[in-house]
């Protein structure tokens, strides 16, 4: 059984490592440093950590000011408040200015769990990818979080990184060949392609193993970068496998499924089924119970594949 680590925990470890090496890195938070895991950096580099209190708008506005003064800024809070409450600040002060701010938002999606609907965002990928110049990243496990964060910090300009609360299986190794902006084919297959992002990637791998026993040869792609999206890998999958299932811990409106559909309809129309949150709010419960109730498990991917196959 693979080790299980939350992507937010990997993010926290990355910040401490990067902070020791990169003196230009500034980290900001809005009173959630214990949850977003920025507290390790706060302890290691207190002179470069700013807690802005429970004030997400000013978190983003001040992050822009620091970045426009030459700093590389990682600004963290829960995804709901980063992308939702502070949307317009991110759009105008970070996006429009091209500020070098990495909005690293944790507790995205249904796996927030017991906190319930007010804290479970399914809209953040949709909101963030409409902002011109914004890179949108949703790592699938702890190892790839660190690998991608390194590239996110090195690139110039605004970026949204979606991280989770719950522990998820680690399936990449620490030196995996992962490139920002390039999808990763984790499993070759010729019958159908599952394009997944975030914590749905490991579910997609489980689904593919199960479907292989039924004789369905499933290709699995980790689409960790949702914007700019890897069009080539999508077109290739559409042409070679003829059918696509998308899987995300996010609304099927505006997220990965929509992004894939935008590419497919323009280039190589094929049928797409979307696994994700279907236009509804969440509720309190354990992450696994919620994934089951709202249809975001390996079994849901299996069903979606069967439905299309």
């Amino acid at each position: 059984m693979a080790e299980s680590i939350a992507t937010r925990a990997a993010y926290g470890e990355f910040l401490v490592e990067e902070g020791a090496r990169n003196k230009n890195l500034v980290v900001m938070d809005a009173d959630l440093s214990g949850s977003t895991k920025t507290n390790g950096f706060a302890k290691a580099c207190p002179e470069r950590f700013f807690n802005m209190g429970i004030a997400e708008q000013n978190l983003m506005g001040a992050a822009a000011g620091l970045a426009l003064s030459g700093k590389t800024v990682c600004a963290s809070t829960f995804a709901m408040f980063a992308s939702g409450r502070a949307f317009e600040i991110i759009r105008n002060s970070i996006g429009y200015t091209g500020a070098n701010v990495k909005v690293c938002a944790t507790h995205a999606g249904i796996t927030v769990g017991e906190d319930g609907a007010s804290h479970q965002t399914f809209e953040d990928i949709a909101l963030m990818r409409t902002i011109p110049g914004m890179t949108v990243v949703n790592p699938s496990d702890a190892a790839s979080t660190k690998i991608l964060m390194r590239q996110v910090v090195e690139m110039e300009g605004p970026c949204y990184v979606r991280l989770g609360r719950a522990s998820v299986p680690v399936f990449y190794d620490d030196y995996a060949n992962i490139t920002l902006g390039k999808g990763n084919v984790l499993r070759q297959g010729k019958d159908i392609t599952v394009i997944a992002t975030g914590i749905m990637v490991s579910s997609a791998m489980m689904a593919a193993s199960q479907l292989a026993e039924e004789g369905i040869d499933v290709r699995v792609i980790d689409m960790h970068t949702i914007k700019p999206i890897d069009e080539e890998i999508i077109i290739e999958a559409a042409n070679e496998t003829g059918k696509i299932v998308t899987a995300e811990e996010h609304s099927v409106i505006g997220g990965l499924g929509s992004a894939v559909a935008e590419v497919v309809t323009r280039n190589c129309p094929v049928k797409i089924a979307m696994v994700g949150q279907h236009d509804t709010y969440g509720e309190s419960g354990k992450p696994d119970e919620l994934r089951e109730k709202y249809g975001m498990t390996a079994a849901d991917i299996v069903n979606a594949v069967r439905g299309l196959y």
Partner: protein, 275 residues
């Protein structure tokens, strides 16, 4: 910085006001009222205070100015032009398709603009980040930011105000252009912002009050702010919306309306300019 007498700055401010009227007339839209009320504050900063270099707008350790009430950008364009950042003729393309002189300032198009603003409150928030960065870098540069009074109704302003005091940003000086009017009418009728001084005082700021059209008072307050050891300073500037143009003064209707040719000519004449 060695300063001239106040008549020197008043003359520059009159030229700035003429530029504002002409640019907004050429654009056919824009915000004359709040540009005219803020013109003296910006003239004081750019001509009598800030360490800047129009030939090197990105000079390290420069003082920075953020126009948080971004709709008054015609005043900033005019001040920057008069200060030598670019020719005054350039700003007559204000608000035209393809112009660098956007309806609200864009930092990537116009040298001297430190922050793209327009959505109220955000410039103030960005100035907090700039002041934090200045502290980290032990920069000699100060950060100046100008807010409107109506702008104070934005929630982010108070988030930012709290943070500035918490981090003891004595390298930050904020101005409020208190002309008392906003789009829908008087502040007091739309949404009371008073007492501005007591509110900022309660948030932990050093607060000074001046006549925002008296250069001696403005400079005295700017100098006093620099002596503060552990607090940001707010300079509450009592101003007249539409200042300098008789028929625009204290008229909320001139918040966001361009003058026609006759009105523009009359305004320019009142300001002692040539059409």
């Amino acid at each position: 910085m060695k300063r001239e007498n106040k008549e020197y700055y008043e003359k520059i401010a009159s030229r700035v006001r003429v530029d504002i009227i002409k640019a907004i007339y050429e654009a056919g839209s824009g915000h004359p009222g709040g540009s005219l009320s803020a013109a003296d504050i910006m003239t004081a900063l750019y001509f009598g205070e800030m360490t800047i270099n129009p030939k090197k707008p990105q000079m390290p350790d420069r003082d920075r100015f953020v126009l948080s009430k971004g709709h008054a950008v015609p005043a900033q364009y005019a001040v920057l032009a008069e200060r030598g950042y670019f020719p005054v003729e350039d700003i007559m393309t204000l608000r035209k398709l393809g112009s660098n002189f956007q309806g609200h300032g864009n930092m990537h198009y116009v040298p001297g603009i430190e922050m793209s603003t327009g959505s109220l409150g955000q410039g103030f928030s960005a100035s907090i980040g700039m002041a934090l960065a200045g502290k980290m870098d032990h920069s000699q540069g100060r950060v100046y930011v100008l807010l409107g009074d109506g702008e104070l109704q934005e929630g982010i302003v108070w988030e930012a105000a709290m943070a500035a005091a918490h981090y003891k940003l004595n390298n930050l000086t904020a101005f409020v252009d208190w002309n008392g009017l906003q789009i829908d009418g008087e502040n007091d009728k739309v949404m009371t912002v008073r007492p501005i001084d007591e509110k900022f005082g309660a948030f932990g700021w050093n607060v000074l009050r001046v006549n925002g059209h008296d250069f001696d008072e403005i400079f005295a307050a700017i100098d006093e702010a620099k002596l503060m050891k552990n607090k940001p300073t707010l300079i509450l500037c009592r101003t007249v919306k539409g200042k300098g143009v008789s028929f625009m003064e204290n008229q909320a209707g001139w918040h966001g309306k361009a003058p026609n040719e006759e009105e523009a000519k009359k305004a320019v004449a009142e300001l002692g300019g040539e059409w």
